[in-house]
């Protein structure tokens, strides 16, 4: 194997890991935002599925992937509004409500697909958007700067969300409300409004994650996400609720997937061990979770509905 070929394979593996990490990153950023405000949403995967179908169907009709993204986000925002209503106004138990959202999304996305599409038809995926100058760089260019726009959006959201959480009053409100909503309320910060906004934006990101997946793959089918949303929730714990941590978690997960895939392609992993190797990303994530997450504390008010004077 020549050196240049080896470099090419490494580049392809890393680029693949980044692509695989992207939907996880979007979904877990959204989940992290919700959890920082004290609301757990186990329905991420269902929101992703509905966002994915909405985006897929939109692109199928309009042939414009950007409309697809918008529809995916909008579906997420709407579900966020609904989820806010049941968990904040009705104060439903968050774990069960989230599973309800998941099952709803899983079933409805398939039903809509059967009803409106039927036989899978491909849609036009995003074309890679080469970043001028940077994409021309040797090695790094292909690795980092020849992705579709959604990859840049996802990774661009990481510093943006860090900034919002730590440098804006809105971020301060979210951090306070996830830890001690009474304190925030006593100073006139609206717990309800802040949590609503965090849930709505968080679900919007989950919808975007689903849309990104469907458009990137150019197809929809039943259970397209394959439980990605649940992995995304695990990655929030892995990343200790920080955007950067969540990004590292998503990248680790994506990279392990792509490395295992590459090793299988070249027969480094014998075919007999192939199924074991397929578990590697999950196993590594769980191990990291056990080691890393033990040292961090989850938002104190997570899953606890807030009632004034209660």
């Amino acid at each position: 194997m020549s050196d240049s070929f080896a470099v090419m394979i490494v580049v392809a593996t890393i680029a693949s890991g980044i692509r695989l990490a992207t939907p996880f990153l979007l979904a877990s950023l959204g989940e992290a935002l919700g959890q920082r405000s004290g609301v757990l949403n186990l329905g991420v995967d269902g929101v992703m599925l509905l966002g994915a179908f909405g985006a897929y169907y939109t692109v199928l009709q309009t042939s414009n992937p950007y409309y697809g993204l918008l529809v995916g986000i909008s579906i997420g925002l709407l579900i966020g509004l609904f989820y806010g209503f049941i968990t904040l106004n009705l104060r439903a138990e968050q774990g069960v409500s989230g599973i309800g959202i998941y099952l709803f999304g899983l079933g409805m996305s398939d039903l809509f697909f059967q009803k409106f599409v039927g036989t899978p038809r491909p849609i036009l995926p995003f074309m890679p958007l080469d970043i001028p100058v940077l994409s021309g760089l040797p090695v790094v260019g292909e690795m980092l700067f020849q992705h579709s726009i959604i990859v840049y959006i996802a990774f661009g959201l990481v510093p943006l969300m860090s900034f919002v959480l730590h440098r804006t009053t809105y971020g301060l409100n979210i951090r306070a409300i996830g830890e001690n909503p009474e304190a925030a309320d006593s100073l006139g910060v609206s717990v309800m409004a802040t949590r609503y906004s965090a849930i709505i934006i968080g679900n919007g990101l989950a919808g975007l994650a689903g849309a990104a997946l469907a458009i990137e793959l150019g197809i929809f089918q039943q259970n397209l996400t394959n439980a990605m949303g649940f992995i995304a929730i695990a990655l929030v714990y892995f990343g200790a609720w920080s955007p950067k941590g969540v990004m590292i978690g998503s990248l680790v997960f994506g990279m392990v997937q792509s490395i295992v895939l590459q090793c299988k392609t070249f027969g480094v992993i014998p075919r007999s061990a192939s199924d074991l190797a397929a578990m590697a990303p999950a196993v590594i994530t769980i191990l990291a979770l056990v080691i890393v997450a033990k040292r961090f504390k989850q938002p104190s008010a997570l899953t606890k509905p807030y009632v004034r004077g209660g």
Binding site: P120, G218, N226
Partner: protein, 324 residues
């Protein structure tokens, strides 16, 4: 039926056992149920069996019930039992992962005929038949053509888990490719999942990066791989259904299953009072397997001919593939 208590169901079951005359007499429409893991219009595994029954419906009145999308085995098991309780004449569990459930359920309903596939095991039960496709034969033909058309000397396969129909097809494909060109680099990647579309897409990209210019793959998650192949303009061979629609610009040919061939045999055996215990298979020779070419795809001269030669060789027995 679900409203009845368990004991009540047991009583009814005993009644059914004691009085075979209560069973629907022949002449009435045959009641057939299909339980399948993915959507019935998936352009792949599940659609193939549904299309098979529908082909028979043209000649014979069949009351058909379909429960699709049961990728959770427990859900499928519940559906199988439910149809058996409802007294369907033939319950088809279309997925090798359902074998364990069927083995438990079938003995409870000795008067119902069960069929499952793709597999070659009836568990020694008199009311279970199994069916499979000699997908290695179609795989072999595809492999021959893939090797014949590869310019870079590399072909790639995206598989789910190394079992059943997928294994047969993949092994046949590799065998055919090597037979055509002993120097071909034929790489196989079992991604470890039947449903991870994103991973299948990346597996296809990995093959392309590693120097493959013709790809194939099997199971329902390959839609991702087809999408990736399409964006890189790499040729694709399909299986289990005609995949031309998914990517007309890259699909060369598809191996298509005509399950009606063996379903007819099973129904005929049932008419003669045989409820199971037999194994069936579709292959090139019995026209249960056909190769559908995408006419829009411009093939280099000699490729199709090599394929047709392989088909003829398999049919007359001069070429032996892995199966049997």
């Amino acid at each position: 039926m679900k409203k009845f208590s368990l004991s009540l169901s047991a009583v009814m079951l005993t009644l059914l056992l004691l009085c075979p005359s209560l069973l629907p007499a022949s002449g009435k429409p045959l009641r057939v149920a299909i339980i399948a893991p993915s959507a019935q219009n998936d352009l792949a595994f599940t659609q193939s069996i549904v299309d098979g029954i529908k082909a028979i419906q043209k000649d014979r009145e069949i009351d058909l019930a379909i429960t699709d999308g049961t990728f959770v085995v427990e859900d499928a098991a519940a559906a199988i039992r439910d149809y058996a309780k409802k007294g369907y004449d033939l319950v088809i569990a279309h997925g090798s992962q359902y074998g364990g459930s069927l083995k438990e359920i079938a003995p409870d309903f000795p008067d119902i005929a069960f069929a499952w596939g793709t597999a070659a095991d009836t568990f020694g039960l008199p009311n279970v038949s199994s069916y499979e496709a000699a997908s290695d034969e179609g795989g072999y033909v595809m492999g021959v053509m893939a090797a014949a058309m590869s310019k870079k000397g590399g072909v790639g396969v995206v598989g789910p888990i190394e079992v059943g129909d997928a294994k047969l097809y993949v092994d046949g494909f590799v065998q055919g490719a090597k037979a055509q060109n002993s120097k071909i680099r034929a790489k196989v990647n079992y991604i470890g999942s039947f449903s991870d579309v994103a991973l299948a897409a990346e597996a296809a990209r990995a093959h392309i990066a590693a120097g493959a210019d013709v790809l194939t793959g099997t199971a329902q998650m390959v839609v991702g791989a087809i999408g990736a192949a399409r964006s890189k303009r790499v040729a694709w061979f399909g299986t289990q259904a005609n995949q031309t629609e998914l990517a007309p610009e890259i699909v060369v040919a598809s191996q298509v299953y005509k399950w009606e061939v063996i379903l007819k045999q099973i129904l005929a055996d049932m008419d003669n009072g045989v409820k199971g215990g037999k194994m069936y298979d579709i292959n090139l020779a019995n026209n249960g397997i056909v190769i559908k070419f995408n006419d829009a795809y411009k093939l280099a001269p000699g490729v199709k001919e090599a394929g047709m030669k392989a088909i003829a060789g398999i049919k007359d027995g001069s070429i032996k593939t892995g199966h049997k």
